[in-house]
């Protein structure tokens, strides 16, 4: 898995934020549109695309997309 693809998958769960605004350093929970439903969509996307189960707390503890990517990568091993 690579970060570019992860960012793309992450961005496709968003509706209001343009994909080009999303980078590895985006503090995603500070996005205006961030909600509990977005969090559920990210969890489901990670399960679908990477076959990894992340929890609500993994999202809570991650600030940037890079942080979350690291969590998924670690669980994937």
């Amino acid at each position: 898995m690579n970060i570019e693809e992860f960012i793309e998958n992450f961005a496709s769960q968003l509706d209001e934020t343009a994909p080009e605004e999303i980078t590895a350093e985006t503090r995603f929970k500070e996005l205006d549109e961030w909600s509990s439903l977005t969090a559920l969509s990210i969890i489901a996307m990670v399960d679908d695309e990477y076959d990894v189960i992340i929890k609500g707390n993994d999202i809570l503890k991650s600030d940037t997309i890079q942080d979350l990517f690291a969590v998924v990568e670690k669980k994937r091993r």
């Binding site: 509990s36 439903l37 559920l40 969509s41 969890i43 489901a44 996307m45 399960d47 679908d48 929890k55 609500g56 707390n57 999202i59 809570l60």
Partner: protein, 250 residues
């Protein structure tokens, strides 16, 4: 005057409780035994089912480790059961998944456990006349099947809505034998099922504030409803979905 007036007594009744190893099922099994019933218990996890058995007021009338989605294991359960005056079908699961990720596979997994398994068990209990005349069947549904109570519960909610539908038809069709069929639709109840981490503890605490009575349910809130539906106090009640939700759906 009678020494004690208790229309909710389950004295002399034999009750089956599924999903009895945890949460609402375990609490219901214990509560029924404390109300005087002989209780038959079943669940998938043998160790935790044993723990429930030890907490019953009297030894279980039957105890069978079984996965109710497996036909052979259901057969073994039926073979071990005494005649029943009631059944509370609690075994179930939940998933938190936005609709756009709700594939047929995800729906099938949920419906196998929450819909097909209890419906098949109820069907066989009736067909094989294990349910005695005047028996009471209680299905554990959810306000997830009557309301959209939280995002991500569409797949789960659909399985519970389907269960409620069969409940009403069964109530009508089983009435010649005076067998009653009702369901309980709980709001969020604090059981291991809701602490699996998809929703954080912080989000759960925040969500609990949406309940007018100020908290999530406890398993005994639901067990007490089951006692009512199993007892002669509800003799004239059938085909009803009893909402126990702290006022959430008002």
């Amino acid at each position: 005057m009678e020494a004690t007036f208790n229309p909710f007594s389950l004295e002399g009744k034999t009750i089956l409780v599924t999903g009895a190893s945890s949460g609402i099922g375990r609490e219901t099994a214990i509560a029924c035994s404390r109300m005087g019933a002989a209780v038959a218990i079943t669940a998938r996890d043998e160790g935790r089912l044993q723990e429930t058995a030890q907490q019953l007021a009297t030894p279980p009338a039957a105890m069978v480790t079984a996965d109710l989605t497996d036909d052979d294991q259901v057969k073994q359960l039926l073979a071990a059961l005494p005649p029943l005056n009631g059944a509370v079908l609690c075994a179930g699961n939940s998933t938190t998944l936005p609709i756009q990720f709700g594939t047929r596979e995800k729906f099938d997994e949920m419906f196998d456990v929450n819909f097909f398994a209890p419906v098949e068990l109820m069907r066989l209990l009736f067909k094989k006349k294990l349910l005695q005349k005047g028996a009471s069947v209680v299905l554990l549904a959810s306000i997830g099947g009557t309301h959209s109570f939280m995002p991500g519960n569409g797949v789960y909610g659909a399985s519970k809505a389907a269960l409620n539908s069969v409940m009403r038809y069964a109530a009508r069709e089983f009435s010649p034998r005076r067998i009653r069929v009702n369901s309980i639709c709980p709001g969020m109840v604090d059981t291991p099922l809701i602490h699996r981490g998809t929703i954080t503890e912080e989000q759960l605490a925040e969500d609990a504030k949406k309940y007018p009575l100020g908290r999530y349910g406890r398993p005994d809130d639901i067990a007490n409803g089951a006692i009512y539906l199993l007892s002669d106090a509800s003799s004239w009640l059938t085909g009803h979905d009893l909402v126990i939700d702290g006022g959430f759906s008002i």
